[in-house]
Structure formats: structure tokens, C-alpha cells
């Protein structure tokens, strides 16, 4: 399989994720964009790892870490969203930040 396939897929996901982060009005949806970006990174790491086929599995280990970090980030992010909702009654990004 050409190495380029996963890499191009990764590029596309990264761009879509970035768009989601920058454009969505709902804070939760912004987080969805973040997840897409991180998945793009993971795809690249795994692809390189498979390509190098090294025993250290650096790529896959880092991918594992990134998944864990993403989970932590999303947890904290949702907590902030909840707090924001309680404080302002809205999770509209445009409104909340000007408060």
C-alpha cells in the first residue's frame, strides 16, 4: 500500500478538523473539530510506524499517548463547556467569550 494514502487522508482530516474548530458556533462541536485534528495526527504516526517497521514502535506508542491525551483534553473541555453553560446559560462561542 502506498504510504501516501494514509498521509493524504490525514491531511484532509486535519483541514476539516481545523475548519470545524474555527467555524462552529457550538462549543461542543468545536471539540469535535479538535478530535478530528488529533485523529489526523494519529493516522500519520501509525502510517510512518508501519512504514519504518521499527521494533521500538515509536509511532504507535505516541499514538497511544495522543489518544489518552485527547481523552483527557476532551474531558476537561467538556467540563469547561458545562461550567460555561451554568455561568451564562449558553455554550454559544460567540456570546460566551464576550461576557
Amino acid at each position: 500500500m502506498p504510504l501516501l494514502y494514509p498521509l493524504l487522508l490525514s491531511s484532509a482530516l486535519f483541514g476539516i478538523g481545523l475548519y470545524g474548530v474555527l467555524a462552529r458556533r457550538n462549543a461542543v462541536m468545536v471539540l469535535v473539530g479538535v478530535e478530528l485534528m488529533l485523529n489526523a495526527v494519529n493516522l500519520q504516526l501509525v502510517a510512518y510506524d508501519a512504514w519504518f517497521a521499527e521494533t521500538l514502535h515509536t509511532g504507535q506508542v505516541l499514538t497511544l499517548f495522543v489518544i489518552a491525551l485527547a481523552a483527557a483534553e476532551i474531558g476537561l473541555g467538556l467540563a469547561i463547556v458545562m461550567a460555561m453553560f451554568r455561568a451564562t446559560g449558553s455554550i454559544d462561542v460567540d456570546e460566551a467569550d464576550r461576557a
Binding site: V34, L62, L76
Partner: protein
């Protein structure tokens, strides 16, 4: 099977992280919730970190110096945070846990010698910092700031991770030693390496608050409690700068033709934009926030010459003084905020007369950051960061730095003038000042200022003892 851990790398961080956990436990199980009961374990942990540093040393001199700066900075933050000890909305146990975790994240950042550990450490610094910013419960501004920092941080982390992935794809390794070995190989794809290196630096430059990754700084510093803003401006930056220096000097040394111009451009933009924005600031915290953007430029500028001995040590020396001065400044402002309810210049007018214990240190801090005698140490460190840039032949950058020193004088000296001038109308002698537990924080301010004064008299102490 024994698990291989390099204690020289991990020692202080592990001690600090453990003590942070103990702090949380103490808070949770102590019969009466008490601020000091939970701060003591963390303090002990930080002291333990010093001891561990003295016992085993660190990976190398640079990391040891950074470790020292981070530990000392965290101690000051911890003491300064006592101004909040009577606030019901500030949970002590969680505060101390998060503070300790973030500090240990910074410690790991400077000790890391591979990008995997670095990424995890960056997150260990970032996630607790996010929570610290929004910690004051029910504070809308705090939460909004927290969200700002969270989202920008996450985006920059994702960008950095993309850079790391590309770097891995180009070289097949993520340890610094491996990178510097592989990057020499002509077979690595040039274009990919260039993109990868720059993207990798984004996360660290973001933590430093350097332009164009600075947008979060003013909002976040204003929204967070002032002491926490001080933490972000000093300890967090120390971690980021340390990681940046080590990464550039060891891991990415073969591709300096890529990052030198990037660093130079970022430094120029940071200094200039930060200073210009600070010129219009009429609030103590806001001024320090923008000034910290400008100072980030001064911090990274000598990193263009990081491959020389001076280029490696100059940012360290600058950082040590900058972090100390900033912590003193933010702590003093935190006390002012508690006692006067605001840190605007109107509030600060005449502070050096009415409350010399706060006003004079603040003025001295402003002079230090400006690099203006009598705060000689500020001048010395300005010179120190300028020198490697000149020696490295980046004359234009040196000129930009010199011009920015002059620009900076304007707003720092204005703060000094505000502090020493007479208030327009004398504040009534006995206004209803809320009694706040400011004693320890004021003492920390005094100690920090004394350290700055001593360094001003004997700059050799700093110059000789940092690598």
C-alpha cells in the same frame, strides 16, 4: 523485569507530583478544610525537589538551572497564592494539586530528551494550567479565560503534534539524540523536515506567548487570578523556553538554517507588537500581560545563537531575572487587587507613597523589566541577551532589540511614575478595606525584591552561577 527510570531526569518532577497528590489528600481528609494544611505538603515537595536536584543533579547544567528556576518560581507562586486563602470560591486542595502537577510538567519539559516525553509533559503543564485559570468557582470571566486558553492550547498542541508526526516520518526517531543523528543524513526529505521543524516549535512558542501565538495572553492573564497569571508568565514560560532551548540545541542542531530565521522573525514580531500594545495599557495586569509578550521576544531572540555557549546561557540568565521580577510584580498586584479591588493605573497612583511595601517593589520590578538603573540586573541581562545575537552576526535583530528596549522604557517608566506620583485626591485614610490575608504574599514580594536588589548589586552572582 525492572522498570528503567532515569532518576536524574525524573527525580524532582516525581517528588513534586507526589507531594501535589498528598496535598489533595490532606485537603480531602483533614477534618477542617484548611489552606495551609494542604499547602505544606506541596511546599515540602518543592523543597524536596531542591534537595533531589542538589543530590543527583540533572541531565546537564542547563536543565539543572531551569529546574532551579521552576522550583523557586513555584515556591513563590505557592506563597503568593495565600492571598486567596480566605476566598470560599477557591478550593485549596485542588489548587495545590493542579499547581504541583503543572510545575512537575514544566520540570519534565526541561528534562525531556525525546519528543514523546516532551509532548506528554507539555500537556501535563497545559491541562492543570487551564483548570487553574478557571478555578475560581462561579467566576464567568475565569471560565471564559479558561476556555480561551483551552481552545488555543489544544489547537497549538494539534499543530505541534502534526509537526512531530512529520518529523518522525522524516527521520524514524523521536529522541533528540536520534534526531540530530538522522537529520544530518542527506536522504531525509528537505521540504518535509522544514515544515515539520517549524510546526513542532509552534507548541513551545505558544506556551511562551510569542507572536503570532500570543492571542490568548492578554485575555487569559486578565481573567485568571493574578497569582496564576504570574505562574503562567514565569514557571510556564520557563518550562517552554527550557524545552525550546534544549530541543534546538540538541535535537534540531543540524537544521539551524530552518529555525534560525523563524525564531528571529518570531522574536522581532513579539518584541515589537507586545511593546506597542503595552503602550496603551492602563492596567497593571494588562501591562504585564502585553509586556510578557514582548519579553518572550527577548527570551527567544538569543536562541538564534543557541548553538554557541553564550546563546545557550543568555536566555537562561534573562529568564531567571525575568521570572523573578514577573512573579514579584504579579504577587504585588494580587495583593493590591485584594485590598483595593482593582489594578488599574488610577488605583495604583501613589502606591509607592501610601503602601511602600508594595509600591516600591512594583516600581523596582518595572525598572528591572525595563533594564533601567538602579535595577542594574535588568540592564545586565538585556546586555546578556543582546551579545550572542550580535556575535552571531544577526545585526538587524540586535538593532530591533535595542529599539525595543527603548520602546519598553516608555511604559515601564510610566508605571513607575504612576506609582510614585501623588494621588489626585488623597484616599480617605480609613476606607473600608476588606481584611485579606496578605502577609505572606507581601513577605514573598519583599524577599523577591531583595533578591533582585542583591542581584543588582552583585550581578556576578547570576552570571557566574548559571551555565
Amino acid at each position: 523485569m525492572s522498570i528503567p527510570i532515569d532518576w536524574a531526569t525524573a527525580g524532582p518532577a516525581v517528588i513534586v507530583a507526589t507531594s501535589a497528590l498528598v496535598a489533595l489528600m490532606v485537603d480531602a481528609f483533614w477534618p477542617r478544610r484548611s489552606w495551609f494544611a494542604s499547602s505544606l505538603p506541596l511546599l515540602a515537595g518543592l523543597v524536596g525537589g531542591f534537595v533531589e536536584l542538589g543530590r543527583t543533579g540533572s541531565v546537564d547544567d542547563v536543565s539543572a538551572a531551569l529546574t532551579f528556576v521552576i522550583l523557586a518560581g513555584t515556591v513563590l507562586v505557592l506563597v503568593g497564592a495565600t492571598v486567596m486563602s480566605d476566598e470560599d470560591s477557591m478550593p485549596p486542595g485542588e489548587l495545590h494539586l493542579l499547581l504541583g502537577s503543572a510545575a512537575s510538567g514544566a520540570l519534565v519539559m526541561v528534562a525531556a530528551r525525546d519528543l514523546v516525553t516532551l509532548i506528554v509533559a507539555i500537556e501535563l503543564l497545559a491541562l492543570p494550567s487551564i483548570a487553574l485559570i478557571g478555578l475560581r468557582q462561579g467566576d464567568r470571566r475565569g471560565i471564559a479565560s479558561s476556555w480561551t486558553f483551552f481552545l488555543t492550547s489544544v489547537v497549538s498542541t494539534a499543530v505541534t503534534l502534526m509537526g512531530v508526526a512529520l518529523l518522525y516520518g522524516s527521520t524514524g526517531t523521536l529522541t533528540y539524540a536520534g534526531l540530530s543523528r538522522e537529520l544530518v543524513d542527506p536522504a531525509v526529505p528537505d521540504a518535509v523536515v522544514a515544515v515539520a521543524v517549524v510546526l513542532t516549535l509552534v507548541g513551545l512558542l505558544f506556551k511562551l506567548g510569542a507572536v503570532p501565538f500570543h492571542a490568548w495572553v492578554p485575555d487569559t492573564y486578565r481573567g485568571a487570578s493574578v497569582v496564576i497569571a504570574g505562574f503562567l508568565a514565569s514557571v510556564s514560560k520557563a518550562g517552554a523556553l527550557g524545552a525550546l532551548l534544549v530541543l534546538l540545541a540538541i535535537g534540531l542542531s543540524p537544521v539551524d538554517d530552518v529555525w534560525v530565521p523563524v525564531i528571529a522573525v518570531v522574536a522581532t514580531a513579539s518584541m515589537t507588537l507586545g511593546n506597542l500594545a503595552a503602550l496603551r495599557e492602563r492596567d497593571g495586569v494588562g501591562m504585564l500581560a502585553w509586556s510578557s509578550v514582548a519579553q518572550a521576544g527577548f527570551l527567544v531572540a538569543p536562541a538564534t545563537a543557541v548553538l554557541t555557549a553564550e546563546g545557550l546561557s543568555a536566555p537562561l540568565q534573562y529568564l531567571a531575572v525575568y521570572a523573578l521580577a514577573n512573579l514579584v510584580g504579579f504577587t504585588a498586584l494580587a495583593v493590591v487587587l485584594r485590598t483595593r479591588g482593582s489594578t488599574s493605573y488610577d488605583t495604583l497612583t501613589g502606591l509607592a507613597r501610601s503602601e511602600p511595601w508594595l509600591g516600591v517593589p512594583l516600581a523596582f520590578v518595572a525598572l528591572t523589566l525595563a533594564g533601567f538603573p538602579p535595577a542594574v540586573i535588568g540592564l545586565v541581562t538585556k546586555y546578556v541577551v543582546l551579545r550572542p545575537v550580535v556575535d552571531d552576526g544577526l545585526t538587524w535583530l540586535a538593532v530591533v532589540m535595542a529599539v525595543n528596549v527603548m520602546l519598553g522604557l516608555a511604559y515601564y517608566l510610566r508605571l513607575v511614575v504612576v506609582l510614585v506620583s501623588r494621588p489626585a485626591d488623597e484616599p480617605d485614610g480609613i476606607t473600608s478595606r476588606p481584611a485579606a490575608p496578605t502577609g505572606l504574599a507581601t513577605a514573598a514580594v519583599a524577599v523577591g525584591t531583595a533578591a533582585l536588589v542583591v542581584l543588582s548589586v552583585l550581578p556576578g552572582l547570576l552570571i557566574d552561577h548559571l551555565p
